[in-house]
Amino acid sequence: MSLDAGAPPIALDPERHAALARVWATPRGLWGFLTTVDAKEIGKRYIVTGLVFFVLGGLLAAAMRTQLARPESGLIDPDRYNQIFSMHGTTMMFLFAVPIMEAMAVYLTPLMVGARTMAFPRLNAFSYWIYLAGGVMLYAAFVLNIAPEAGWTAYAPLSGPQFSAGKRSDIWAQLITFTEVAGLAAAVSIAATILKMRAPGMTLARVPLFAWSMLITSFMVIVAMPAVMLASSFLISDRLIGTHFYNAAEGGSPLLYQHLFWFFGHPEVYIIFLPGLGMVSEITATFCRRSVFGYPVMVLALLTTGFLAFGLWVHHMFATGLPRLGDSFYTAASMTIALPAGVQIFCWIATMWDGRPRFGTPMLYVVGFIVTFVLGGLSGVMLASVPLDTQVHDTYFVVAHFHYVLIGGAVFPLLGAIHYWFPKITGRLPSELAGRWAFALIFSGFNLAFFPMHLVGLWGMPRRVYTYSAEMGWGGMNLLSTAGAYVLAAGVAVYLLNLIVAARRGPAAGPNPWGGGGLEWATSSPPPVYNFGMTPVVEGREPLWLGEELPVLDGLDERTREVLLTSVSQAKPTSREGSPDPSIWPFVTTLATSVLFVGSIFDEWWVVWGSLPVTACVIAWFWPKPSHSRQVKRRDSGIPGAIA
């Protein structure tokens, strides 16, 4: 399988390796686990945690499908069912989809742009811890039977103080705060890494498409997420301290909630699938042995999608009775998305047409992605039409649509991408046979589960119903969907088992098992703790395919953590910058922040008193240290203990 076994293009002699490994090492044991700022370590944890939430969300989905398999089924009571679908949506959107895309980027972007680590490594660590804390809080609530039950959208006034008793909606609102803080922190690190830490020569016209997609995604996160934090903070203040943002009786507006939520919620969908598009581009290029056709068009399409994403949110609100002329604008804007999406689809197929595709498992996911995502995109065009949307909105047709778009457009590429980069991360190859079986089960199970939902939607089945009566005639299609869901679940099980087995017993992968052209394949698998022995110099879009030895740049300090900064557009080296050592403060700050967030569910004064420990932690975190240049100078002049 291995096309390019043996030593990676960039390898160091043992002495220099040992020196660098010592400087970049993470302490051993529990202390090291809590203090690490290694982007690869954090990325791996992030990915594994994301997959755990994917499995939990999937189990919830299986429970729902079991309940809906038969009409009038009494397996799950309505309250539990409402919790389950709310948890499923919340988990998949906030604890799986966005975090795992950022997680992939945390692991991969430094490698893809040829950097030693991420920008802001401690912020990156903080992002992971806070994400984990939010997820643990949500699932603790579910176990205690106080999970949110107003849907992942938590529309007011249903989620407001009058109609959602107890603490359920508060837990939802604070989960949003947790995940958005985590998402923003990761987005800032990713954007800074891609803009400022690229290898010399990697101009914006040579940035790998996955990195491009993550750059745009990160900016979308930064612009979109504050809107939902506002929505959820208004909600919790309505519930906790008696404000009336969403209370129509006191001059508030339930529609304000929907505007704020969807101003985030629609970009959120693209935040989830733009990384998927980047993954598809990487896999396609490698497996077709050809640069992606139409690179500038692809980048422009990603950018266009990112901009348009912010002008579409009202298409989630066509049934709310907003002025119809205004709605028509959103119809046109929403349909326009088909242009960049369609152009990208053309470019991928053109790449296959012009290249020589090999059908390794990751490539199967690309083909599955095109077949599925295009169908979901086209049903999206249908939903953009105001009149048609008023019929299918909030029915199972919409459920089918967004699963085609999100599973087809983001999860298929993600599964392909994990299989594709797994050898880089672990140094071991997953089984191709098990990989193909998993793909076959996942692809057929998915279509069997979700295609019938289009039909039951057209036949009038609303979404978010815990049961339906036999006389509606929806039973057959629902049974089919349930069967498909089980097949899909079996596929995911095979997929994950394959990875677990391969991580222990898979054959050694070598640095570049698929013959890829990106920088991440220029270092060993798994990469050394410092990523690259010397800084690669990039002279083309696929540096490893240029046919000659990869040029490198030496001279970064090997006795301190030092990274190279380059200019934003031309990637010319500008300065050498220090990178922080392992630190416990991101973890401790997370504990303090979690106490504040969770406490504020119960009493507003926690916001006041809880902010004191957070402030103390942040002061300790940012306590001034000697500047990097001074550290290097002192080290050079032999002053002991200069580097803390």
């Binding site: 009571d77 309505p78 309250d79 107003a150 529309y155 006034p157 249903l158 109609f163 129509a248 508030g252 339930p254 042995r289 050809r290 640069s291 056709f293 139409g294 049934a319 009775g321 709605d327 046109a332 349909m335 242009l339 369609g342 152009v343 053309f346 470019c347 197929i349 053109a350 296959m352 047409w353 012009d354 020589r356 595709p357 059908f359 077949v371 169908l375 065009v381 039409s385 009149p387 048609l388 008023t390 019929q391 909105h393 029915t395 279509n447 295609f451 289009h454 036949w459 009038g460 609303p462 978010r464 119903v465 049961t467 005639g473 013959g515 083309g540 879009r541 696929e542 395919w545 046919g547």
Partner: protein, 338 residues
């Protein structure tokens, strides 16, 4: 690789074949002007999008077929010149998408405009959504002609109706797929939906916006009848309930008025005049009870009254302690409310 594509295509064909099916709650069997207009855009969308999907699949299958050519010696990198056909193809494809979108946006806009059209002298209704039932009021020329019912909408065929939509608690959505698209009922706002039924028949509407615990059981019956039958129905509904003659029913009335029932329900012509729950004056004219949760039969009525939480957990209707004689009497009384 072509196999999944084929499977999808055959599924799509099956879907098209099933489009002809009829039902009481389906948008594929339009029975009114609005639903028919939406059906036009649905069919247009299905054809245009179907054609585009087919094009993508054919191109994909072709590209995969070409994989059999001998492999490349070295990977093609950088701005490798592609086969010239591809660049023209990209421009053509983008042009085709733009053209398709222009057609669809224009059609969607025109049809949306047409949905607002009304026939002269529309019937006026007010629907108020509650957790989890529908209050329906028909406006009349005089105050005593205001008609209140619950969980049923009766419409004359061929005449437009304008339904004023309000919500009492949370957001709900009013949806009769066979007649028109859905419109939300939102606290603090008034929305309107126009319905122009063109075919007599029995249809079903259901709440389409998640509204809490019993969102799944918040439906209503829709009957489209000819104008004469509608006037007759309206006349009957305006009448007060006659006092029961039979002894058991009279006992039932007494029980109804002395137990919890009277706290929430209204029966015009009796002591019961609360407006918290559905108006029961002509309960027996309805096809279902508890907002579509059960058919309106003697047994279901008794079961519902005896244990509302068993049928619809979380419903605001409490369990009222009644002996079996009292329960039977109340049911007997309710059965007189024709």
């Amino acid at each position: 690789m072509i196999r999944p594509a084929l499977r999808m295509a055959s599924l799509s064909v099956a879907a098209l074949a099933l489009c002809g099916c009829r039902g009481v709650q389906t948008m594929l069997d339009p029975a009114g002007d609005q639903a028919r207009q939406i059906d036009v855009i649905w069919r247009l969308m299905l054809w245009v999008c179907g054609a585009m999907y087919l094009l993508v699949l054919v191109f994909l299958a072709w590209a995969l077929w070409r994989a059999r050519r001998p492999p490349l010696a070295a990977p093609a990198t950088g701005p490798t010149p592609a086969e010239p056909g591809l660049e023209r193809g990209l421009a053509g494809w983008a042009g085709l998408i733009v053209a398709g979108l222009i057609v669809l946006v224009t059609a969607s806009f025109l049809i949306d405009r047409s949905l607002a059209e009304l026939r002269p002298h529309p019937l006026r209704l007010k629907v108020t959504a509650h957790q989890w039932w529908w209050q329906v009021e028909y406006e009349g020329a005089r105050p005593d002609q205001l008609l209140t019912t619950a969980n049923q909408v009766v419409l004359p065929v061929g005449r437009s109706a304008v339904v004023e939509l309000r919500a009492d608690d949370v957001i709900h959505s009013f949806w009769i797929p066979n007649l028109a698209g859905k419109v939300d009922l939102i606290p603090g706002r008034t929305n309107y939906v126009a319905l122009t039924p063109r075919r007599t028949g029995v249809f079903r509407g259901q709440c389409a916006e998640f509204c809490g615990l019993q969102h799944a059981k918040m439906a209503f019956d829709v009957q489209v009848v000819d104008p004469a039958a509608f006037d007759a129905w309206r006349g009957r509904q305006l009448a007060a309930a006659a006092p029961p003659v039979e002894a058991q029913a009279a006992l039932g009335k007494q029980t109804f008025e002395s137990k919890g029932c009277v706290m929430c329900h209204r029966i015009q012509g009796s002591e019961a005049s609360a407006t918290v729950g559905p108006d029961l004056t002509h309960l027996m004219s309805r096809r279902h009870i508890a907002a579509g949760a059960r058919p309106n039969t003697r047994g279901d009525l008794a079961a519902w009254i005896a244990d509302p939480q068993g049928t619809k957990p979380g419903t605001p209707m409490p369990r009222v302690a009644l002996s079996s004689e009292e329960l039977n009497a109340v049911v007997a009384y309710l059965e007189t409310l024709k």
